[in-house]
Amino acid sequence: MATTTIGIDRDTLLWMYKTMVIIRRFEEQSKREADAGKLRGMHSSIGQEAVPVGVCAHLRDDDYVLGTHRSHHHCIAKGLDINQMMAELLGKSTGTNKGKGGTMHIADIDKGMLGANGVVGSNIPVATGVGLSAKVRGTDQVSVVFFGDGAANQGTLHEAMNLAGIWKLPVIFVCENNRYAESTPVEYSVAGESIAARAEGYDMPSVIADGQSVLEMYEIGGEAVARARAGDGPTFIEAQTYRYHGHFGADDPLAYRTQEEEDYYEARDCISTMVSYLLENDVLAQDEIEAIDAAALADVVEATRFADESPFPNDGELTTDVYISYA
């Protein structure tokens, strides 16, 4: 079966499932590393896997993704090597960034990951420039920027949407509305009926998507990528999702949200609903699912071993890479 009933080919479905599972296992492991004191302040993406996976399924290596402080899932969805990612989390010389960036700054330009970014809203204009670059250089590359509901209140989003609008840039604005910025609920911080509605003021196609459904993210992401590639300008996607853990691991989310809300989202978990879909539609059998899960876990175990055994950067690295030529 090359293509499923909903028109997504099997390889893509498999890739999406497998990638979501790898993200989840990777994040579970990074939390363990954090709890063991091996890294600090990491922002878990568990619960939000479907958003970048559905969108990145349409991207090539030479398309670009830009992220936030919470970007492990963006990186994995964009095809980064998890060995290098785990090494980066531990500050090792074999990391994606040679250990100099860490959890909030993972980047791999060769894979088109132009960086997680620790400043809320800061990457949105950068992504707009990436779209401009593609346009000026005459390629059909696409630039996708992921950001949170909290970031939607930064002025940079407004400026970038306007620029992308007037210049018809191949930029896709994906707001991962996980309902909270730290402890601040989105209904408190965002005036107006939705975040997506703001894009209308910039004449930009916008849509609210179920960010727990990778199939819906795939479909909506596909339209946006096609629009961008065709030179028809930007798209705004508000993906409604949820982070299962606290903001950065050390907070108790039940201090600011309810058990019912958590249960509601976990019942619609992107991975378990995908499992049901794959089984019900005979895309995969139970043992195939289990094999994928086991392989994902093994990959993460291997990444952890790789990271653990890798050396820290040597002292000279402190003063390299400041400029092209410095020390």
Binding site: G91, K100, V119, Q154, T184, V190, E317, L318, V322, Y326
Partner: protein
């Protein structure tokens, strides 16, 4: 039996928190704004309140005591709410606004440098601007290049802004109260590492001011002057303790205010010790350390037995990897090396 020297120990966090509470009680014009300064905003009706308390819990409990009108969680819109702080300060309030980490200054710098800093001057003195900005800073916690900067130097650059950098719970409480009561904009820089250090200093219960623009001599000495700023005062003092064991008597100046800066205290000390080592965690170029080095060279030239020495990080961003970050930081060892250099 009453001990006259009973000390009241508070953590740095408790000291700031107490200062805020006391000033809010004293003056209804004092309000607090910032991201998650209370937490779970707008859910009082669900019994959710005060669920966060600021990134360092500096503002914990304020909303339960003073209400959501005066303790406001903000959207992530620093230019918006720090600008709002300026407008509120110009029209009868005394806002304390939190910029979570100073590294984020760039999204709201215009409000600070063009409005807060200049309004009084541009308006010919016909306005006061009692705005306090408090912000977190400092490396050493593995938060990499965008969350670990120190940056008081760039605010010191701008006329019209005052800058204070507490070094322990005692100065934290006093400087926070002074900042709130000051009619000019003041930025209070909270080093994150100081929040984790238990300092055995007495913090009086009653509200008190520590004067802005005044340094203090934390440790007296004759052989060399060490100048520290906030966390690096702690480092300098540690170094001084070790130096004492080696028979070197180091005086430690705790700068506390970067602007206005207490030039007299520095000069008076250096004129006695004839040698100075400045310990500063900010980037080296155009820094408070440069300023102090230049000040001493220009104003105490004839007294100096050796050139001034600065202990700053190298001219790089803050690295993530732990061993690199450890190399990056000023340490007692680096201070001792510098002292050995000036002692000749």
């Amino acid at each position: 039996m009453v001990t006259e020297t009973a000390t009241r120990n508070l953590s740095y966090i408790q000291a700031i928190n107490e200062a805020l509470r006391q000033e809010m009680s004293r003056d209804p014009a004092v309000i607090v704004m910032g991201e998650d300064v209370a937490g779970g905003a707008g859910r009082e009706d669900q019994g959710i309140i005060d669920s966060w308390g600021g990134p360092m819990r500096l503002t914990k409990g304020l909303i339960t005591e003073f209400g959501a009108d005066r303790v406001r969680d903000t959207p992530i819109s620093e230019a918006g709410f720090i600008g709002a702080g300026v407008g509120a300060a110009a029209t009868g309030l005394r806002p304390v606004v939190e910029l979570m980490y100073v590294s984020f200054f760039g999204v709201c710098a215009d409000q600070i440098t063009n409005n807060a800093a200049k309004m009084r001057y541009m308006f010919g003195g016909k306005i006061t601007l009692p705005l306090t900005i408090m912000t977190g800073m400092g490396a050493g916690l593995n938060t990499a290049a965008q969350h670990s900067e120190t940056l008081y130097s760039i605010f010191t650059h701008f006329p019209g802004l005052k800058g204070v950098v507490p070094s322990d719970p005692y100065t934290a409480k006093g400087l926070m109260i002074s900042a709130i009561r000051d009619d000019d904009p003041v930025i209070l820089f909270n080093n994150r590492q100081l929040m984790g250090i238990s300092a055995n200093v007495h913090v009086p219960e009653e509200a008190y001011e520590f004067p802005i623009g005044k340094a203090r001599i934390l440790r007296e000495g004759d052989d060399v002057t060490l100048v520290g700023i906030g966390y690096t005062t702690y480092i300098a003092d540690q170094a001084a303790g070790l130096l004492a064991d080696d028979g070197i008597s180091a005086e430690v100046i705790d700068l506390l205010s970067t602007s206005p800066m207490d030039e007299e205290t520095i000069l008076e000390s250096v004129q006695r010790t004839r040698k100075v080592v400045i310990v500063d965690e900010d980037y080296p170029r155009c820094s408070v350390a440069s300023d102090i080095s230049a000040l001493v060279a220009e104003q105490a030239f004839d007294y100096l037995d050796a050139p001034p020495v600065r202990v700053n990080p190298p001219h790089t961003s803050v690295p993530y990897s732990r061993p690199l970050e450890a190399l990056y930081m000023p340490t007692p060892d680096k201070v001792i090396d510098a002292v050995n250099e000036v002692m000749g």
